[in-house]
């Protein structure tokens, strides 16, 4: 039952840890608009405020399954083995998301789940998805998390923004994700799974990075590793976001800047509506990355090039010819109409540098010129940018009815489109 002890580490320790971690604040779970601070270094977070919020959380959220009324499944994670359920915390009458994993059905090693729990407890940053608590209930491991009402960025793309999010939204999301990654690196953690389905957005526009199950702690046996050689085996769905040096698995290994490459992939995914090489089989993706093919954002400056690329680089290789050209053409038309800021292209190019030594660090990226334009722009602006997609809470204010009419609710859910997995 080491899992129990790990997963349910008591709140005392958590608070103590939170004190040690000099950084940043966890916003209240409905995502208080403490956004003006995002431009600051995370280390400058206000400790007092944070302390208070921790206490509130601790008091309100008990590791007791009876405290939560489960409503509807809003997503699946871990290749469909875990379910994310919308639930109401009866103590506070607030909505939360509960991730449940049936440990009996869990095929892999429990260490992998423990990893996620341990990391989440170890970290505290307003842009890293926290767990309020986690506990074992029957055969299931429950993790109670804030409800991220807009779902993941993948969901957003799926629901409406099939050819990419609006530029301002991209910038806001990237800024917060980079802040989270910078924090992780500062805590010696390599995320290794940065992709759109791991970026969640709350009702108020707070952006949270999740998916820590694939993370790697670079301090092993009391020693800090300069390079890492561990190849993540349990997350085949993350393969497309891996950096070339991670995929290469040679003597050079990889390091924190592997995450920076994945940030570039995320940026492309947010902007183009599809991750680069996502339509290729994994082996072809590997080949492209090894060759140094540099993905880019599709807009009027690149789209003509983009079309040619499509023709030239992906000849009738397997699985390619059956792609309907019409949808591609339609997407191209949309791409052609828009023009991203040159700085945004620059950001993508900097992240997607083939040679890891030429990539900037996450900390340097925070000061990238692209974020100057949104310096005074709080992330509370984000929800307005995401219209017409509405957050989940707007549709579920009357939970009582929902319990009675599950089908109706799930139909409503489908409007937000949860077809794509929430991979927490």
């Amino acid at each position: 039952m080491s899992l129990l002890s790990c997963a349910c580490g008591n709140k005392e320790t958590k608070k103590r840890r939170a004190k040690n971690i000099s950084t940043a604040s966890i916003g209240s779970k409905d995502g208080s608009p403490k956004t003006a601070q995002t431009e600051q270094q995370p280390q400058e977070g206000e400790e007092e405020v944070e302390e208070d919020m921790e206490q509130i959380d601790a008091a309100q959220v008990q590791p007791d399954p009876l405290q939560y009324e489960l409503y509807a499944v809003i997503g699946k994670g871990h290749s469909n083995i875990s379910t994310i359920t919308l639930a109401k915390n009866t103590a506070t009458d607030s909505l939360v998301a509960v991730k449940r994993v049936n440990l009996e059905l869990w095929p892999g090693e429990l260490r992998y789940l423990q990893n996620e729990m341990a990391f989440t407890q170890m970290l505290s940053h307003r842009n890293v998805l926290p767990f309020y608590c986690s506990f074992i209930s029957g055969q299931e491991l429950w993790a109670v998390m804030p409800l991220m009402a807009f779902g993941s960025c993948r969901d957003l793309i799926h629901a409406y923004f099939t050819s990419g999010l609006p530029e301002l939204a991209i910038k806001l999301i990237m800024r917060d994700v980079i802040a989270a990654v910078d924090y992780l690196h500062y805590r010696w953690v390599i995320h290794r799974g940065i992709k759109a389905s791991h970026v969640l957005i709350s009702k108020s526009g707070r952006v949270c990075l999740s998916g820590l199950h694939n993370a790697f702690y670079t301090i092993q046996n009391g020693q800090r590793l300069r390079t890492v050689h561990d190849f993540p085996l349990h997350a085949a769905d993350c393969v497309h976001s891996y950096s070339p040096e991670l995929l290469e698995q040679n003597l050079a290994g990889y390091s924190f800047n592997s995450d920076v490459y994945s940030l570039g992939i995320l940026l492309c995914e947010l902007a183009n509506g599809q991750a680069p090489f996502a339509d290729l089989p994994a082996t072809a993706m590997l080949l492209e990355k090894m060759k140094g093919t540099k993905p880019h954002l599709a807009d009027s400056t690149t789209v003509s090039e983009f079309v040619i690329d499509e023709d030239a680089e992906y000849p009738p290789a397997e699985g390619m010819e059956d792609q309907p050209t019409s949808s591609q053409e339609r997407a191209d038309a949309i791409f052609f109409k828009r023009t991203f800021a040159p700085q945004l292209h620059d950001l993508a190019a900097a992240c997607l540098e083939r040679d890891p030594h030429h990539r900037p660090t996450a900390g340097q990226l925070l000061h990238h010129p692209v974020f100057k334009s949104i310096k005074n722009c709080a992330s509370s602006v984000l929800p307005s940018q995401l219209q017409p997609v509405t957050p989940l809470t707007d549709q579920s204010n009357i939970p009582k009815d929902l319990t009675m009419d599950d089908d109706d609710f799930s139909r409503k859910m489908s409007e937000v489109s949860m077809l794509e997995d929430w991979v927490f």
Binding site: H229, L247, E248, Q249, N250, G253, L286, L287, M290
Partner: protein
């Protein structure tokens, strides 16, 4: 992949309308290029696929090592993109193992390892590691050995050639081909047979004792290994196996000058003639040399580049060119003007194909015992060993589908290797 598309590669040169040349290599003969002239209308373009070989979900890459048992090739898991290695046993070898053809599959898929200690030793003129590096490997060796012994497995063939190193310098014990699993209910670690490499055999085996302690055999051979990787020499040498065993049974060896007091004390403990006073693994762990921190005074011996590709200092994936032909046919090869190389590759792959399909065709010189054991000797894997090996100790995790069904009888592989080492 597709045998239909296998009929020689077609290369188109220059103008499509003009006559095109169809070069193709006749695989059976060495080095003879046959050039046929073919009219352009007869040329049918076929995507060149012959280099792409799949083994289940694995894409087969270049050769990692070769030995008397067969070959070790690199693999790429096409789903997770993880590098793997496969040991392909020769059918002939399988036949030598009683019930081998039924019990042992030909392919054993294992973790990818970058190099082996022997190869690293051979890459430096003094044939030894700096003390701190040797210490690191030795600690891992003892960890792994302790794990094996805790499962009642006696390796019996510990030597630098059977110790692999991963990309992150983690040591892996491999080749359980002559290992013995003790009976689950056995009271003692009594063994009666051993077919390990002669230079690493303890006196009780050299003397031909009928019954001896299995664990102490591994301690001895670990001692010889430690002696070897710290000094570059062997405690006992001999021109042939008889001389060698004679020397071992005499029990006279010297520890070269320059070896620290502490280390020579440990070596003496591990190479004690009498197996009953020889150190146990626990005693080794408690030895001051083992526990000491060894400062990194000199540079480490690095994993050398592959002999086939001296420029690839990082030992990168060998499957990349194959991926290229898998996804883009041979267009790239033509564009890059690599046709020459290409043909040579083709020849090589043809040749390999022939070998694989027609085993009786294979000629290997077995007159010199174990000539071929130099390179990645044996990444043999035992089911027992592969079950949940800890990272440090682990011989690799077999990948499920392709596994060796362990039969104790495999012990009879009869391998008197490395006589020539002395």
């Amino acid at each position: 992949m597709d045998p239909e598309e296998f009929s020689g590669a077609s290369f188109l040169f220059g103008d499509q309308n003009a006559a095109a040349l169809d070069l193709f290599y006749d695989g059976a003969e060495d080095g003879d290029l046959v050039i046929h002239r073919v009219e352009s209308d007869q040329v049918v373009y076929k995507p060149q696929r012959q280099k792409v070989k799949m083994l289940g979900k694995y894409l087969v890459g270049g050769m990692l090592g070769e030995g008397s048992y067969g070959t070790v090739k690199e693999l790429l898991d096409t789903e997770s993109l993880c590098r793997r290695a496969v040991k392909i046993l020769k059918k002939r070898k399988l036949r030598k193992i009683p019930n081998g053809e039924q019990n042992v599959r030909r392919y054993m898929i294992m973790e990818y390892c970058a190099s082996e200690l022997q190869e690293m030793l051979d890459s430096v003129p003094e044939k030894k590691f700096p003390v701190w590096q040797a210490h690191g490997y030795f600690c891992q060796l003892i960890d792994g050995l302790e794990y094996l012994h805790s499962h009642g497995i006696i390796h019996k063939d510990i030597k630098p050639g059977n110790l692999l190193v991963t990309n992150d310098e983690c040591l892996k014990i491999t080749d359980l081909g002559v290992a013995e699993a003790l009976d689950q209910f056995a009271w003692t670690d009594e063994c009666r047979t051993s077919q390990g490499s002669p230079a690493f055999q303890p006196p009780e085996i050299a003397n031909g004792q009928a019954v001896f302690s299995g664990f102490k055999v591994d301690v001895w051979s670990s001692g010889v290994t430690l002696y070897n990787i710290t000094t570059g020499k062997y405690p006992y040498e001999g021109d042939n196996i008889y001389k060698l065993f004679e020397n071992i049974s005499k029990g006279d060896y010297t520890i070269p000058e320059g070896v620290s007091e502490m280390l020579s004390d440990l070596l003496k403990g591990m190479l004690a003639y009498d197996a009953t006073v020889r150190y146990t693994l626990q005693q080794i762990r408690e030895h001051p040399w083992f526990m000491k921190y060894h400062p990194r005074l000199c540079a480490r011996v690095r994993i050398p580049p592959r002999p086939e590709d001296p420029e690839d200092t990082l030992r990168s994936m060998t499957v990349i060119p194959r991926l290229n032909s898998m996804h883009y046919g041979d267009e790239d090869a033509e564009e890059d003007g690599e046709v020459e190389d290409h043909i040579q590759d083709l020849a090589a792959s043809h040749y390999q194909e022939a070998n694989n399909q027609n085993e009786s065709f294979q000629i290997q010189d077995h007159t010199v015992p174990f000539e071929h054991q130099s390179s990645l000797e044996a990444i043999a894997e035992d089911e027992d060993a592969s079950q949940g090996m800890p990272e440090k100790a682990g011989a690799a995790a077999s990948d499920g589908e392709v596994k060796v069904k362990k039969g104790k009888n495999r012990n009879r592989k009869g391998k008197f290797s490395s006589c020539k080492q002395s």
